[in-house]
Homo-oligomer: 269 residues x 2
């Protein structure tokens, strides 16, 4: 494994691009191979056995590209599969749950943390479990906000309806007086300013993707695996079905067009 | 093929239950086998080749249960695959597009028809094509309303935000003065009263599922294949992944709980 190898990122689809974006910002000289499993999206709602199989295939695909480090950008796979399988590989890998949970624990002042995510992530209780492993005295309030994903994907953001839905969902979080809110779904950073406005400035928002990029930086640095390159980094994209939908949503998520997206048949991995 | 065999219905997921509901209403004595391909939902956004393969597998599964007639309740598969493959089978099958389009042509008075659906259905232009095959002089206005599916699935219906989104989407349909609007997605009947209120009483709404059930009744009657049974009909449900999400949305779609849902591995068909 060489320090100039790429970082691999996989996700069930397009949501992981918000993690990709943070990795690019924090580690601008790192090559990145991104795999979006759009052909089998979403992972949430599937059985643990199936999600674990999918994660292993996604990792196998990334390993073909000689990556030095793997980020599981999918909250569902991070919650359900990653801890069980990470030990089977001789490459370091992290998910998005632990970094988000850790950051929330560090930043809360009143010990009351909110977590929002999809039905699958909230149902797994993964964030609350990790937070309580660190400090059992903290109070964690978890809430599924399933309409946030389609609103983000459709770019339906600065609309009155989106503010109404956000207020509707987050009223409980106000009522229970959290001071820290974990955005436990990779799509939610696109609604960050709406969520911030609804929650008010006293509530700290934790972007799991940003925290994950920070942890990746630290782990690569500790392992002396940061890239020595100062040239423009290469970003390579693979998807598991026709790339059109991925491409159009990616433009919205990244604020720029992705030139080349290669389709692969993931079932063979 | 016997007249007391069941009707088979397949869909990419839970949306086809609105078609199922109409078939039950119009053909209460017919046994029904429903397959929801939740493990590979949604079909929209996938390639024609993949959707055709999926439709053939879904049909093969239904045929194992000796069905006498097949309804493809999925707009995407109806639009992209059904016409190409129906001739390969010795069993009659219909999709949801032709009945919806036919009903719109019969009911418009001013010759201006609106069609709403998912990105995939609208992108396929299937409704407009069928309408123009019947009468090239009709004006067809097609519009994707992608947020309607998650709003319906989440039961987020009698909310101000849903009315705002509906008004936002359908303003154009007002402007172009349609008098008939096709609900070209199986989820949309759940938002029917919102759409009706926004469009006003002068606009006739066409529920493709209801029209499909009517056509199924006529075809079965013409073929002397209507069930002779007067006992309580059997409804059997199969899904291609864990049934929990299907089950909870089904309760919302049907207004009653489904007792037994069997999981099958569709990849073997």
């Amino acid at each position: 494994m060489t320090q100039n190898a790429a970082i691999g990122i996989f996700d069930s689809g397009v949501g992981g691009l918000t993690v990709f974006r943070e990795v690019v910002r924090i580690l601008p000289h790192e090559d990145i191979v991104y795999f979006g499993d759009v052909g089998r999206y979403p992972y949430g709602g599937r059985s643990k056995e199936i999600i674990t199989k999918f994660a292993r295939q996604d990792i196998a695909l990334l390993q073909e590209h000689d990556v030095k480090f793997i980020i599981c950008a999918c909250n569902t796979a991070s919650a359900v599969a990653l801890d069980d399988i990470a030990g089977d590989y001789d490459i370091d890998m992290i998910g998005v749950i632990n970094p988000g949970a850790q950051a929330a624990v560090e930043r809360t002042r009143n010990g009351r943390i909110g977590v929002i995510g999809t039905h699958a992530t909230i149902g797994s209780n993964a964030y609350a479990r990790v937070i309580h492993d660190i400090d059992p005295a903290l109070k964690v309030f978890s809430l599924a906000c399933p309409l946030f994903v389609p609103l983000a994907e459709e770019g339906y953001i600065d609309k009155e309806a989106t503010y109404l839905i956000t207020r509707d969902y987050l009223q409980t979080m106000h009522d229970v007086e959290i001071d820290t809110l974990v955005l436990g779904c990779t799509h939610y950073p696109l609604l960050k300013h709406v969520i911030a406005e609804v929650m008010g400035e006293k509530v700290t928002l934790i972007d799991s993707g940003e925290e994950t990029a920070r942890v990746a930086h630290k782990l690569l640095s500790d392992a002396h695996l940061l890239s020595a390159s100062t040239s423009k980094a290469q970003h390579t994209f693979f998807v598991s079905d026709v790339p059109e939908k991925f491409s159009s949503i990616a433009t919205r998520f990244l604020g720029r067009h992705i030139e080349k997206i290669t389709r692969v048949d993931i079932s063979g991995y």
